[in-house]
Symmetry: none
DNA sequence: CACGCCCCTTCAGGCTGCCGTCAGCTTCGC
DNA sequence: GCGAAGCTGACGGCAGCCTGAAGGGGCGTG
């Protein structure tokens, strides 16, 4: 697990670094916000430990900027006892936990473990298909990392293709899947939904077999 | 740690104030209930020390009003030996502890330290979700630092979303969670509870996926 | 036991936005 | 180049959802 430590106190920083290293994690330690920004942008961390009082600004600003960029890396705030308002602001700004200085190093280890567990503990199986990531349980689709909203019909259709990757599905089959036993639809509904799916997921997801039906494109 | 001291005896009040200050905490000292109410409403305290006999009313009323507002700040009652019934009433009204006058100042420090440890040391793990802070163990939710009261059904529903953040949950799944094997509800109960949750926690907490269900919104 | 309080459920009215339809256009096969 | 098949923008209807209000039931209180 890679951890970014942002702390200007050299004594405390060294102690934390050594403690984390003793736990078998790897640490990058910076003492300034600008260095922290660079590190967070270039490296993917599993956890950030953030002091709020730093020589070149308040840690809150860093945290807000991080979240504004869409970065969801868990953040634990390190704060002094008298900075309660900062702590609340920090939690509101998207921090995951806080530790009050002076803190027990063992407690730090425990918190790190807790955060690690919280974030690695709930993995729904992900299906990857080209630029698409599909979480079937959550019914969510991400395209190039960005979430895509599908409507009920669109999802049902997409699911039908995912269930039989590469297989040709006729319009009749798809209608049956979407409308199960319902009256035959006498229009181009399937075509319309395929069109909408392509617009949302990319034109290559579904291939047309003229006169036959559709099939899931190759990743 | 910020402490609110409500005590009309000037000698005792000064002694307590000095003792707390010597421990390195900060104190606001008021001698009347109306001033106490203003202070508690405008400032976020970590602990309240409450005398029960005050010139403008009984401290119990203040405590009840505090809890009725949903404020969960720990309260220690300061009471004379002969006010046993008040003390019991105080504990029932939501006080966390009591001290019998005359009390040893060292004991006061110890109680304060205990509360401090309980609340800032290692409290229950806190889940943060946008402006919400959730203590799963205590079943309490704070929004922008202010406590929010959830009813049983509301909490059960919210918990279901928290257990699977980002995952889509159909009404059927939610009903099963809320009514476990009970008779099928043939109404829009889930919709109503979702509506109430949104009103209490903010409209963005729960997102509607038309025709499919609901999911926890992004922080 | 009667009463009051709060929570849950139900209902109804209003609103949102998804879906089906259609028409005009494009693409494909021959 | 022609017809058939497929694509897609536009739009109205209605299913699905939201929410205020009211009634019933459970629980604690006097």
């Amino acid at each position: 697990m890679r951890i970014l430590l942002i702390e200007d106190d050299t004594v405390l920083g060294a102690a934390v670094r050594d403690q984390i290293a003793a736990d078998g994690q790897s640490v990058d330690w910076v003492t300034r916000l600008d260095a922290a920004g660079d590190a967070a942008r270039t490296t993917s961390y599993d956890l950030i430990l953030l002091d709020l009082m730093l020589p070149d600004g308040r840690g809150i600003a860093f945290l807000k900027a991080l979240r504004a960029r869409g970065d969801v890396t868990p953040v634990i705030i390190l704060t002094a006892l008298d900075q309660i308002s900062d702590r609340i602001e920090g939690l509101n700004a998207g921090a995951d936990d806080y530790l009050v200085k002076p803190f027990d190093l063992a407690e730090l280890s425990a918190r790190i473990g807790s955060v690690a567990r919280r974030y690695s503990g709930n993995p729904n199986p992900l299906v990857t298909h080209g630029p698409l990531q599909i979480d079937l349980a959550a019914r969510s689709v991400h395209r190039d990392g960005k979430p895509v909203q599908l409507t009920a019909r669109e999802w049902a259709l997409f699911e039908a293709f995912l269930a039989r990757p590469g297989q040709l599905l006729s319009k009749a089959q798809l209608e049956e899947k979407l409308y199960a036993f319902a009256a035959e639809v006498e229009s181009n509904t399937i075509e319309v939904h395929v069109s909408r799916l392509r617009k949302k997921l990319g034109s290559a997801v579904i291939e047309t077999e003229r006169g036959m039906g559709y099939r899931l494109g190759k990743p």
